[in-house]
């Protein structure tokens, strides 16, 4: 244990060199957040729930924060059901996003923990059914489906090959990619497409991540999947969207924001956020809730940036009135 006089540094220096490159670059990063009009609001807001609504929540919180630097947000993506049952109804979050309405089980769980909530409809999504590009160019017929055909593909004990759905289509097994059952997308799809008397098939790859659905359909030739429109909007070249026919004799409607807004598209679904009423008594949370509602009519934010259908001015105004009512009662 003598201190050797020839202190060689060769070995350690090589090991350090790669690591510290970025450290120098970071050496000055301690200034505060950017300036903004500070209204004196401060506090933190916990938002849980749907990964479908997450992009909307992120865009809105980001804008709100640039005007109110004192407010800190904690956002997580847990799925609509996961957020309700693990966080919101246990009293661990202030807002829960959902891509469907709150279910009766969740209502019960919330009320048993004395959690009162208020429902806000923030946007509308066009649930999009997608198929593989090569499959669509080989069999152009698959890009036009009736809701009944979609039901045959996705219900339990339904079709197993494409030929079962339509005699002209190939005798190949259907490769399905869909939402996991903690997801609000799953609940909406089951209710809107499959109806009361049919179950969702279990012969599919369930996931909470839309990315997995996109890649699965992109790579599987005879694959079909469904997810929110915003994911399709950002990846229009990767997969082909199916145009849908609500009833026999109706026309096939393309999934677009216009068609969802006009109500022509059969799978247009509302997206929600649920603030906790007791939290609304805090100024920064009430102010953020109002801001969220006002932004839900912001075309450039909701439609262009995120990819959902914004609310109309009147629709937004009535949500705002209802919210103000809830805030005054909080």
């Amino acid at each position: 244990m003598t201190d050797s006089p020839n202190r060689s540094v060769s070995r350690r220096s090589f090991l350090t060199s790669a690591g510290a490159v970025g450290a120098l670059a970071l050496a000055g990063c301690t200034e505060g957040p950017g300036s903004g009009t500070d209204n004196g609001l401060s506090g933190s807001i916990r938002i849980s729930g749907s990964s479908t609504v997450y992009p909307v929540a992120q865009a809105v919180t980001e804008q709100f924060r640039s005007q109110n630097p004192g407010v800190e947000f904690n956002l997580s993506r847990d799925g609509s059901g996961g957020g309700f049952s693990n966080l919101f109804c246990e009293g661990n979050s202030d807002f829960n996003n959902a891509s469907r309405e709150i279910s009766s089980d969740e209502e019960e769980q919330c009320s048993s923990n004395d959690i009162e909530y208020h429902e806000i409809n923030v946007a509308t999504d066009a649930l999009t059914v997608i198929v593989n590009n090569d499959f669509a160019s080989e069999y152009p017929g698959v890009t036009d489906m009736s809701i009944d055909q979609v039901r045959q593909i996705w219900r339990a004990d339904g079709a197993t090959t494409w030929q079962d759905v339509n005699g002209d289509w190939p005798d190949e097994a259907i490769n399905r990619f869909g939402a996991a059952d903690t997801s609000g997308t799953f609940d909406y799809f089951r209710e809107a497409v499959l109806g009361e008397d049919a179950n969702h098939t279990s012969d599919y790859s369930p996931t909470e991540q839309d990315n997995t659905i996109l890649q699965g359909v992109q790579q599987g030739r005879y694959a079909i999947g469904y997810f929110g429109f915003s994911y399709y909007q950002d990846n229009q070249d990767a997969v082909t969207a199916v145009t849908l026919q609500a009833e026999d004799g109706d026309s096939y409607v393309e999934p677009t924001l216009e068609n969802a807004k006009s109500g022509d598209y059969p799978l247009a679904r509302p997206l929600f956020t649920y603030p906790k009423v007791s939290s609304l008594s805090q100024d920064h949370i009430a102010e953020f809730a109002r801001y969220f509602v006002r932004q839900s009519a912001n075309d450039s934010l909701i439609a262009d940036q995120v990819g959902y259908v914004p609310k109309t001015e009147e629709g937004m105004q009535s949500e705002l009135d209802a919210l103000n009512e809830a805030i005054s009662n909080a």
Binding site: G28, Q58, Y231, D234
Partner: protein, 545 residues
């Protein structure tokens, strides 16, 4: 013997040996190539090298790459120059890492109030006692007093936190860092000048005063640069300036080494000339995702504005806590089990049972530890009489740090046990034979010999902890946060969690560019922290062997 066959000796086929040799070679090649391709791919995306024009590559080849290769060729057969160059680069990088760590830990995470409190109650007394112990070798109570300070100091500090931070607030943040960093730094500089470079008392004093003057004179200059605060200037001056100054002085004092100064000259000069030429001829530059903006801003819904700052701070905060917890508990457990725990009889069976269980725990998947953390730190409510334990909060820094510590504790214990076991028994017996007590033997023989092994195991385990995502998700760490955690009980997001979130966003730019930049940042932070531990390990390795 078998390599040479003579008549009368049987022949041994060497075929199997050769086949085996090439099989092992092939195995290592596949692994290294796969990793290399992956890293190259990530760096390529993160730095946006695809978009750079041929002119950009040509310019930097001529101004930077060719001179650097020339210098390497020149220095190849001059060991003194090579050693000097490595010392310059190594100390600069180590200084950069240190200032990065100081800024994050002392300025961003702790803040002046908290830092000055624990500086006064823990750091300063411990350093003072250590120096006194070096000066007065006879004072055997110093070691115990240091241990006592480490235990009592934090308690006193926590109790006096409010009062001391109020007083410190009068001083202002820069004043706090001047007193706690620059003044001790000046003392260290004087000591180094006198001890290493045989400077006279007057010169050493001059060095110390020079550093203080430089710190103050630099303030008006720093004030003109908006992104560098005064506190940051003090931290960088001490943490980067001292190592660089040391390396420069050391190199300049040895004439054979002076050629090494060509390396920084080539690097800085080549970069500046390259920038100038690229600007002049208008060559297309790469558009990196990993840039200053990425490192200093929070995440965003727009890929171009997204950044990793809160997650970097969160991860560093987390890993510092985890390393403290695992080192104290892991090494403590290992030393007890190897040196003190009974190895025979009924109690010996219990020891063996515990050992087997620790080995098994090391193989338990991380999600299970996440659930454990959720169960004992978050969703819990126990009452012991008047005391209610209701967990330490969902997704808080402390919850995450304790969960990750539990996760890697078995690995740390096993590797530390292995290191302690590898110290030859003859050394212990020799120590006992000279009349040393068990404590003296462990303190002076076992721990120094096993420290390199202990550190290796801890480094590997910490590398695993910093990259874990699953347990963080389980305990409710959040996906998006705009400010870094402000304390132990604030929620956090960490780098792997942020990268995981980006990887599943709709936009392709997030899934390729931003994710790649995040991965590269994670690697850089991981390697910088490991390099500190590796430096410590190498120092002990050189001392013991």
């Amino acid at each position: 013997m078998a390599t040479r066959s003579e008549s009368g000796f049987g022949e041994v086929s060497r075929l199997r040996g050769i086949v085996f040799k090439y099989l092992t070679f092939g195995a290592s090649l596949v692994g290294i190539l796969a990793l290399g391709v992956l890293l190259a791919y990530v760096f390529w995306d993160a730095l946006g090298l695809e978009s750079a024009g041929t002119a950009w590559y040509l310019t930097y080849t001529v101004t930077l790459l060719a001179p650097l290769l020339g210098f390497l060729a020149y220095a190849r057969d001059k060991p003194e120059v090579t050693a000097g160059a490595i010392e310059l680069v190594g100390f600069t990088l180590a200084g950069g890492t240190l200032s990065f760590a100081a800024i994050i830990v002392l300025i961003v995470i702790a803040g002046p109030g908290v830092w000055v409190t624990y500086f006064l109650t823990v750091v300063a007394p411990v350093i003072g006692l250590f120096l006194y112990g070096q000066y007065e070798r006879e004072a055997t109570w110093v070691g115990l007093a240091m241990l006592g300070t480490l235990v009592v100091g934090p308690i006193v500090g926590t109790l006096g936190l409010g009062a001391i931070s109020t007083v410190a607030a009068l001083l202002g943040a820069p004043g706090v860092y001047f007193l706690s960093l620059v003044v001790p730094g000046a003392g260290l500089a004087a000591f180094l000048a006198a001890d290493r470079f045989d400077a006279s008392r007057r010169v050493a004093l001059g060095v110390a005063v020079g550093l203080l003057v430089l710190a103050i004179v630099g303030v008006p200059v720093v004030d003109t640069v908006p992104i560098v605060a005064r506190s940051v200037w003090f931290a960088v001056l001490v943490m980067l300036g001292l190592p660089v100054g040391f390396a420069v002085t050391n190199t300049a004092r040895q004439p054979a080494r002076r050629a090494a100064f060509a390396l920084p000259a080539i690097a800085i000069g080549g970069f500046l000339v390259g920038e100038f030429v690229v600007g002049a001829i208008g060559a297309t530059q790469p558009s990196p995702w990993l840039d200053w903006q990425f490192l200093t801003s929070p995440t965003s819904s727009l890929p171009a504005d997204a950044g990793l700052y809160p997650a970097v701070i969160g991860s560093v905060f987390l890993i510092i806590l985890v390393s403290i917890f695992t080192f104290v508990f892991g090494v403590g457990t290992a030393v007890y089990l190897e040196e003190y725990a009974p190895s025979s009889g009924l109690l010996g069976t219990v020891t063996r049972l515990i050992n087997v269980n620790i080995s098994n725990l090391a193989g338990v998947p991380s999600v299970v530890y996440g659930l454990l953390g959720l169960g004992i730190f978050v969703n819990i409510n126990i009452q012991f009489g008047p005391v209610v334990y209701a967990g330490i909060g969902a997704g808080t820094v402390l919850t995450a740090a304790m969960t990750l510590s539990l996760l890697i504790l078995p690995i740390v214990v096993i590797s530390a046990q292995e290191a302690v076991r590898s110290v030859p028994d003859s050394l212990r017996q020799a120590s006992y034979g000279m009349g040393a007590t068990r404590w003296q033997t462990i303190r002076n023989v076992v721990l120094p010999r096993s420290l390199p092994g202990i550190l290796t195991g801890t480094i590997l385990a910490l590398g695993r902890a910093i990259g874990e995502t699953a347990p963080l998700i389980m305990i409710g760490a959040v996906a998006t946060k705009y400010n870094p955690p402000s304390g132990l009980f604030d929620t956090l997001t960490a780098m792997p969690l942020q990268i995981y979130t980006w990887a599943f966003l709709p936009s392709e730019e997030f899934r390729y560019g931003v994710v790649a930049a995040g991965v590269v940042t994670l690697l850089i932070v991981l390697l910088s922290m490991n390099s500190v531990a590796i430096l410590v390990r190498n120092k002990y390795q050189q001392e013991t062997y």
